[in-house]
Symmetry: C2
Amino acid sequence: MAGTRIDWPARIEQVLDRALTLPEAGSARLREAMRYSVLGGGKRLRPTLVYLAGTALGASAEALDDPAAAVELIHVYSLVHDDLPAMDDDDLRRGRPSCHRAFDEATAILAGDALQALAFELLAGRGSAVRPDPAEAQRRLAMSRLLAQGIGTAGMAGGQAIDLEAVGRRLDLAALQDMHRRKTGALIETSVLMGAAAAGVFEGPLHAALHEYASAIGLAFQIQDDILDVTGTTASIGKVAGADAAHDKPTYTSLMGLEGARAAAAAQHARALAALAPLGAAGAELARLADFVVGRAN
Amino acid sequence: MAGTRIDWPARIEQVLDRALTLPEAGSARLREAMRYSVLGGGKRLRPTLVYLAGTALGASAEALDDPAAAVELIHVYSLVHDDLPAMDDDDLRRGRPSCHRAFDEATAILAGDALQALAFELLAGRGSAVRPDPAEAQRRLAMSRLLAQGIGTAGMAGGQAIDLEAVGRRLDLAALQDMHRRKTGALIETSVLMGAAAAGVFEGPLHAALHEYASAIGLAFQIQDDILDVTGTTASIGKVAGADAAHDKPTYTSLMGLEGARAAAAAQHARALAALAPLGAAGAELARLADFVVGRAN
């Protein structure tokens, strides 16, 4: 897709806004809580990964809109639930009151639930023909399976459960990495692999290259998150700075020190770039995204 | 499928137990909360509907196992979340402590989230080949779309949001029916239509007949639920009797009186049986299920 110049951030916002136009929603309050949570900014890392991985392998932007929206809806649902009083009890998200503060707890629980359902509805082809074209059905079903596996007990939900159990305990580095690989890494990997699936790529060297890339930036992303929790301000990161230390949560910085964590992020960054070699020039935008992940200030 | 004698209740328990064997779960506590909530009994109405509707149209029991398990996992996730303190705040479910009482709130939120993901994972073909057979992919994708639509803002989650907003207000009968059609009826309809989809039936007179049947028993089920809340005991219904009145919730019995509600349930029962006429003898088990729905004491 060299030569195409698509404004991905603008496209993502448009696709999310369309996904959240819900004329049949029974409750305006529920719909507004979903729109408030999703359309209130965010880095859009995961949908960007879907678009960049997919177009690197030849998928059209149109074929990537549904999976791109789906991974962001899932990410936001996880934030909405993680912020609940019974979970991390965070009042601030993306520089604004978190969903249960802006609305109420029950609405936040339901909004998260409905965002998860909407993600799978998009992948199943909302509003499309009753029986989709067989090849498209295969691709969509494969994406649905990737997403479901990435966010269940083996992935995101399992990681959050480990995280909750770890508060006040001492995790070693292996346990910390396992927790983050599930909690954050799994959805990042899933985003890349869904882009590949939308391009019809399910195996082979390019698939392996993207998988390795995704694993590296997933780790780099989490290490950088822990660094920012120490070095950032509440204003710059849009959530309460120092929250991990305040909650006595194990982090890369608490285990490795700030400089150790920075070195680890740099190592994962290098690993991500090396993984892209088989893609040649088609991997350029993914390389720039890896630069962003470790260079970001929020 | 006349002549086959399958023990559906035993099959459902087995299929659910297998679905909840989660070797890769990161957290034993999360997995146990899911197993506790799902395997603790229940009428299994929705999976039974999947099996009976599907076999009435010629699907094999094997083709119905995944959708049958999926609808029950979704039903249980909705119970786990509805029981939370921020929602209906129920301590008792199926005669035992509700999930957040037996475990804790955070675990109950995550267990519900992970049950929803697992339902879609089963529909996408957990553990099956990367690229399923095209015809099977079409059927599975159609079932995934039905489920996602049935449980999102237009269906179950939207209905629960209306229900929360209705506490202490006066809903008229039309609004009460709209709320229940979404909150309970949508998943019951979805169960029947997923059985049809597993049999490759997406339209035509048999599809319309099953849709009408499902709509009638969905209504009958809810009316009977409201009747049991008034006439049952906590021991007989397995949850706190009189909870709706205590929460000042609008119900069929509060709007129509007990006798009016009984007449309405009987009318929906008759409508369900009439709808089955085009199925002939193949509808016999579905007819017996309709009898159970209005005759049940729990």
